[in-house]
């Protein structure tokens, strides 16, 4: 178990070493967004914004416009939540390579409650032209996503979580923006394909394991919500004939919507959605929140069975 935000912090430190143009902006959350190590090692390239997320977006835009590679970090509810218009106009429409890091996304923020649990950040970011949206599944992938974001010329959003989450990928696991990774594949064909994003991918894998002898399943890690890997998604969806999407985010506007839009246009198939259903979160332990809001392995397994059943009707 490790924090995805640690993967980000580790990569940022390396980027500091590799590229003098990398700068870090933070809205008074250096420790919890894991910018602290960069701040200590490269104080002249760490820019303190105070609790001012709107200005963080505009200042980052100016820095990128000049030629820097700015990473700006806060909690996802504030950035890209509070500063959405500044991101839209000064970063996305301006098409400037600011890297927006939204930590503490999802219900797993836990005790802090609904105000701090970002469940709409993917939706906010994926509707902006020019924006790339990354949602890494574990610490290692967050590390790779951060390095890939720095190398990508345009604006990028990276979604991170507060809690320690299971490690599912290794150093050797490939990571390419826009290229989905198959994580679990039944031996003889598949009946249902599961597209999952973020740390909740682990619950999808547990569900697939639980159904190992009952329903042959493929589980695919959609670490890039935008641009969506349409080829891989359509290939596996058509082979399986039924789809389940899994995300710790509102179903509306998130991964589920993105996949549904793709399938509706190209290959409409029975699809079940795991995610938050037009509700706010609340205080609680991450595990009990995931259970309460219907995103536990048992819920995913039930969705897989339901998707499979819908094929024959």
């Amino acid at each position: 178990m490790a924090h995805t935000r640690d993967g980000f912090g580790r990569a940022l430190l390396e980027l500091g070493e590799q590229n003098p143009n990398v700068v870090a902006l933070c809205a008074d959350l250096a420790e919890s967004t894991r910018m602290l190590a960069f701040k200590e090692k490269y104080p002249e390239r760490y820019i303190e914004m105070g609790v001012a997320e709107q200005n963080m977006a505009t200042v980052a835009s100016g820095l990128a416009n000049y030629g820097k590679i700015p990473f700006m970090a806060s909690y996802a509810t504030f950035s890209p939540g509070r500063n959405n218009e500044q991101i839209r106009t000064t970063i996305s429409l301006n098409n400037l390579g600011v890297k927006i890091v939204g930590s503490h996304a999802g219900l797993s923020v836990g005790p802090d409650g609904a105000t701090h649990q970002a469940l709409e950040d993917i939706a906010l970011m994926r509707v902006q032209p020019n924006m790339t949206v990354l949602s890494p599944c574990d610490e290692e992938e967050a590390y790779k996503a951060t390095l890939a974001a720095a190398a990508h010329p345009g604006p990028v959003y990276i979604r991170l979580a507060r809690e320690k989450t299971p490690i599912m990928t290794a150093k050797e696991t490939p990571f390419e923006i826009g290229k989905a990774n198959v994580m679990w594949e039944a031996d003889h064909g598949s009946e249902v394909v599961v597209f999952a994003t973020g740390p909740l991918l682990h619950n999808a894998l547990l569900a697939a394991k639980e159904l190992e002898h009952a329903v042959p399943v493929v589980v695919i890690n959609i670490h890039t919500i935008k641009p969506l890997d349409a080829d891989t998604i359509l290939k596996y969806a058509k082979e399986a004939g039924a789809v389940v999407t899994v995300e710790e985010h509102q179903i509306a506007g998130g991964l589920g919507s993105a996949v549904a839009e793709l399938l509706a246009t190209n290959s409409p198939l029975p699809t079940e959605f795991i995610g938050v259903r037009d509700q706010f979160g609340q205080s609680g332990e991450p595990k009990e929140l995931i259970e309460y809001y219907g995103m536990a392995p048992s819920h995913i397994a039930a969705a897989i069975r339901k998707a499979q059943a819908r094929k024959s009707t």
Partner: protein
Amino acid sequence: MITDSKIKEIELKAEAIRETVVEMLLAAGSGHTAGPLGMADIFATFYFYILNHDPKNPQWPERDRLMLSNGHIVPVRYAAMAHAGYFPVEECLTLRRFGSRLQGHPERERLPGMETTSGPLGSGLGQASGYAYGARMDGAKFRVYCFMSDGEQDAGNTWEAAMFAGANKLSNLTAIIDRNNIQINGMTEDVMPLENLRAKYEAFGWHVLEIDGHNVSAIISAVAQAKAIYEKPTLILAHTIPGKGVKEIEFDYRWHGKAPNKEEAARFLKELRTLKGKIQSEHE
């Protein structure tokens, strides 16, 4: 020292820019009139005297950066850029048309030399501050200018940026507020009182100057003074007359956000052309 003939030349450019503004707004059929006319002297002074720039090489790395925060007055910038040689003056008549580089609100990627994308108010000072911060990290010598409206002093982001620029002593940044006292809903002091603006910016760590925004030599000397201040960013509060040059619309907030019709434009242009003679005789 600036010569009288240079001042005359700039004033004549400002007059030509005002004419172009009226022509482009008439052609577009929509847009803002008061702000662009009020800022014509400042834009003319920048594009024809202050800015270190090369219209034939808009990406020249050492150019001064002019960031326009209140994007709605962009017709005056388009007109100034065209008269300075960035693109043909005739292209100004494509303002707000489908396929035009001259969007209703400016976009960096569409027009070389535009520097940034703006329109939604309150986000320009932050962008200019980030730009100035990055440039200072590398020891770049160019200066960053940010033009704002007074209406956007209502916006929180403006003050976040003012605090940031003051805290970081961004002395390579000079901001100018077009203090024309109008906004869409009425007079600024009725909509949301802004005063004391000077004291507010000073409290945020800025050096503040107040000038008549139609006085070319005052604009030049204020910017020269800003360059001499090494410890703080400088704000120039430029008092301007909205609609300047056309008596019937001066100070009238109803002209903030509308364009003249054919008859109005003809009257405005006729009046503006008489300014040429006034400028000539004043400098004789």
